[in-house]
Point group: D2
Chain length 332, copies 4
């Protein structure tokens, strides 16, 4: 289940401390201008080590396109992209080898597979998102040809909404050997009406699955989201006027299909589970032990999750746009 999408299909691979991570994108239309700088720009945004607020792990994260592009344009064949791991200090993780880090996938991977690459989370590491962001960069390029943009921003961290307060919360958590959660909002502008399919293929269903499939995300909402629980229908219905909809409580999606308004998505991001503070856990022999997760970790993952969430939303939209083309182009 490392493949995402129906029409624009992305398969990602790679572990935190393996040789390389990457993605293969199948189903990309031919003729789209693409080179490595298009991909690199977005990869740089998710890269660690660029701010005192994030992990100091230094990765060049240089992308190499192996196939699917000829003379600067996509050819319709699969686009393989890889990023080699350089700064993988496996040694940092030696003492964690036999312990299940709380809040991480260590325990569940061990239960499921009976084997795991314990170095830095292996496949469950945040570095897995490199493949997503690389693929998302291509999706954004495609969307931009249709006038669609996808942009994310931080809404709140540890209950605070002002930039200065947010920065303070993050630094305070770092100082305390702890971490903090938050909320991000991703908005897509310029989408035509008609994206998404009824019933199980609803656009909002696709978005919710895509967002909840990002590590650390514990909640997804569209438009008014959880606030609808306190409202009445006369407030949440969006009236129509001759200029279009008079409001956007629906977040741009009605009956699972885009309405032409902005698509508005918010995600709840849990605090980074890797914290220096001492916690109780088990080792693989079943003993209860103390654990302090040192190493290079972000005290708040919200800023770095934004390019990933943008990538996922772009992939969902590009996929729906291709699906819609199927009917517009070949059907009638």
């Amino acid at each position: 289940m490392n493949t995402f999408g129906r029409n624009l299909r992305v398969t990602t691979f790679g572990e935190s401390h393996g040789k390389a991570l990457g993605a293969v994108i199948d189903g990309c239309p031919p003729g789209i201008p693409l080179d490595e700088t298009d991909i690199q720009a977005l990869l740089d945004r998710r890269r660690p080590g660029t701010s005192p607020l994030s992990s100091p792990r230094q990765e060049a994260d240089r992308v190499e396109i192996l196939s699917g592009v000829f003379e600067g344009k996509t050819t319709g064949t699969p686009i393989a992209m890889i990023v080699r791991n350089n700064d993988a200090k496996s040694g940092d993780y030696g003492e964690l080898r036999g312990k299940f880090r709380p809040g991480h996938a260590d325990f569940t991977y061990q239960e499921k597979y009976g084997i795991r690459d314990h170095r830095g989370g292996g496949r469950s590491s945040g570095r897995e998102t490199i493949g997503r962001v690389a693929a998302g960069a291509l999706a954004m390029k495609y969307l931009s040809l249709h006038g669609i943009t996808v942009t994310g921003r931080i809404i709140a961290v540890h209950g605070k909404t002002e930039p200065a307060a947010i920065e303070h919360e993050i630094l305070a958590a770092k100082e305390a050997g702890d971490s903090v959660g938050g909320i991000a909002e991703i908005v897509a502008k310029g989408c035509p009406a008609g994206l998404g399919d009824p019933v199980f293929g609803k656009l909002d269903a696709g978005i919710a699955g895509a967002m909840m499939g990002i590590g650390a995300v514990k909640g997804v909402e569209i438009g008014d989201g959880f606030a609808v629980a306190g409202k009445s229908g006369s407030h949440t219905n969006d009236p129509m006027t001759k200029d279009g909809f008079a409001s956007n409580h629906a977040g741009g999606i009605l009956g699972g299909i885009s309405s032409g308004q902005d698509i508005v998505v918010r995600i709840a991001v849990k605090p980074t589970p890797s914290i220096a503070k001492t916690q109780k856990t088990r080792d693989i022999h079943g003993n209860v032990v103390d654990i302090s997760v040192g190493g290079r970790h972000d005290p708040c993952i919200v800023p770095r999750i934004i390019p990933v969430a943008e990538a996922m939303l772009a992939l969902v939209l590009a996929d729906c746009l291709l699906e819609m083309g199927k009917y517009k182009g070949g059907s009638r």
Copy 2:
């Protein structure tokens, strides 16, 4: 996109005012005891007309199994089930034929398909969920053989959490020709560790997509959900003791894979968009017109969405259980 699931695959069909609705379930293991009363029991829970709080539409909603069951047991072949529509008063909807009901899929279906069955929402009607609930009943039967149960309950309606207050809010909304939203919680108990797959096939991603794919759902959260945004890692990580996990902030899922704890899901349900109160909308000619959606509608959809949400969670879990079997049974 009317098919759901990878291993237990459900295809639903049918419109509100067509001849019949139903589902075909493919991939069901052989040898599971099943008859129509198993399905009927759950269909009766979603049926309208059973309480003063819900729509007075009277539907017998009798299920008929057409295939896949022989001498009281599933055979491993597709199970087709249909429910015929009886009480479909198309006449009720005549005046709405040319108007886009606010908060409904009318506008987006028209934009997408250029044609739609306007009678009672057609395919976008809540009656579409009959197929889901019928399939979910089978999934629950299968889960019960593995000791897994799925149960939903109302958490809040229009901001209230006490049963009496909730009933009051619903009746008040009905009186006012309005409707109210709320929150439901669905819990699965007895799940083994190991359900779900990394990356795009995460259990929580599957659940989020399944829930957001239910009409009227605008938000989904797992475990602490949106509350993580105000917390620190030392509070949201679940420590392990020799008896297992000491808490369940994660809602039973770590790294996208079940941990063996209860799986806890909450959904935000918007107020029923069909309200008697006069609203502004457009007709199909582009004119701005007044609309009042009469007919037989629930003032609050939360109670009736619960069997649907239970069905969807059961389908996701049954699918993952079969996927897990693949490795346990045939792999090594």
Copy 3:
């Protein structure tokens, strides 16, 4: 695995002696004129009891469309169609209950599922093809809007190629309590260049899978087929002139993609395995026993397999046509 197709997705269900057989077609474009007579015409062609050369089993095989069509046109929602079983004489099969009929799926179903509906083959009966033919009728309707036709014919039976000789072979086999095999050819005319996808999604790969998935088919070839094994490249390559290709050794497909020429497919159909002649087999207790398969069986299945093979080819082509539309419509 009772679903076929990527864009036009057909799910079939039903057993030989169950309540009903049918199909649900998802992904059909909206606006295609369709009523039950369109479907019935093709079902009548595959129906038994219409000739002294075929099984005398009498089935009305009346199709009923349950959903997806409104005011005589498809709406883009799933089209469910059922055919009820009427003339199902389970009694005929009583003595075969415990014996594995040679050349049938009895043994392998029992091995796989540990349970089977032994009445007339259950799901492995030729009646399963009712769902395929019903779906194929819709596909042909769609193809006809694009100027594409699909037609099959008998090429040979029991080594004979002349109609009179073929009829003689079939009647002689019937007389002898035996059966005979043959070859059918299916040709699609009017296909545009560009159908099919490279590598695993090749048009010929799709056709081969579709044809070999029909019961009794043991071989599939495209264009020159097995004859290429005795030829040289200077004979099998099709030269191009200013009027197009000068020959069609390729059978209309190059590199897995349609070239615009006729698509030519041939299938090898084995003799009906149900024969009155005494054969050796096992019963479910492992004893070697004699078996004579009485009942109403076709001495040669080639004539009745043709509408099924046409249906499958139509489904493959309709699916590819929708896939191609995706790029033409939405991509650039």
Copy 4:
């Protein structure tokens, strides 16, 4: 459509003259011993330049595993493998740039995509099979743990069946600037009964699609194959005795499900379309021109297609084995 399989999913990528070719295999069970030498051994068998009968193109074709293997064992995460192109003489193809090579995908790719990597066939080159063979090597490793072997051999070339005559035909074709076709047979031994699914997921349907999806294959048959067309049911049915089946006309598959006998598949392979002999074709401007395809080509592709066909059969069987495990492991 560069992904193959349902449970063991292989995505291949890469062009003849691009930077690299490769495959990502998802769904591989954990704990399987694997290193690069396992893969290399099979790649070496498909490699050109190893015999006077094949293309003199020299490619080291060294495989590198990028992910999914830890301490010598698979981890259950995607296994990415790449082979870099070294000996890619684009110059050889310069004069063919604007001409459609007869029997190749040049014309159909151009029609479909409006753009193509003309260097040596690009994605439609035989080098695309590197990814298949690499993935097939993994599948064979997995099958071998279950006692299953897959072996192919040449049956006939240009109508001859004796090794010496076959070699003579190939050298004669080379001398004449021409090429010859043939037949290969692939046999799987040790398969359990129960592989494959009814209806569209039949084992033989999967095999037929897999084989016809290999470039140059124009026909596929199972067991008696096209010979059934001249036989009667009393000859093609396989009787059962207490020791099992008394014959194997069915080629190991009944009703789409393996019976436990050897699985026997034959494929018809067309003559290599690249020949030095002068042919008529068109250029991209529509002019009729002469073409002689020089460069380094095999006069007969049958020997080198065998490891590819073995790989594809291994992939189909491994996929079915995992599917079967689903029911054995998790269902009842």
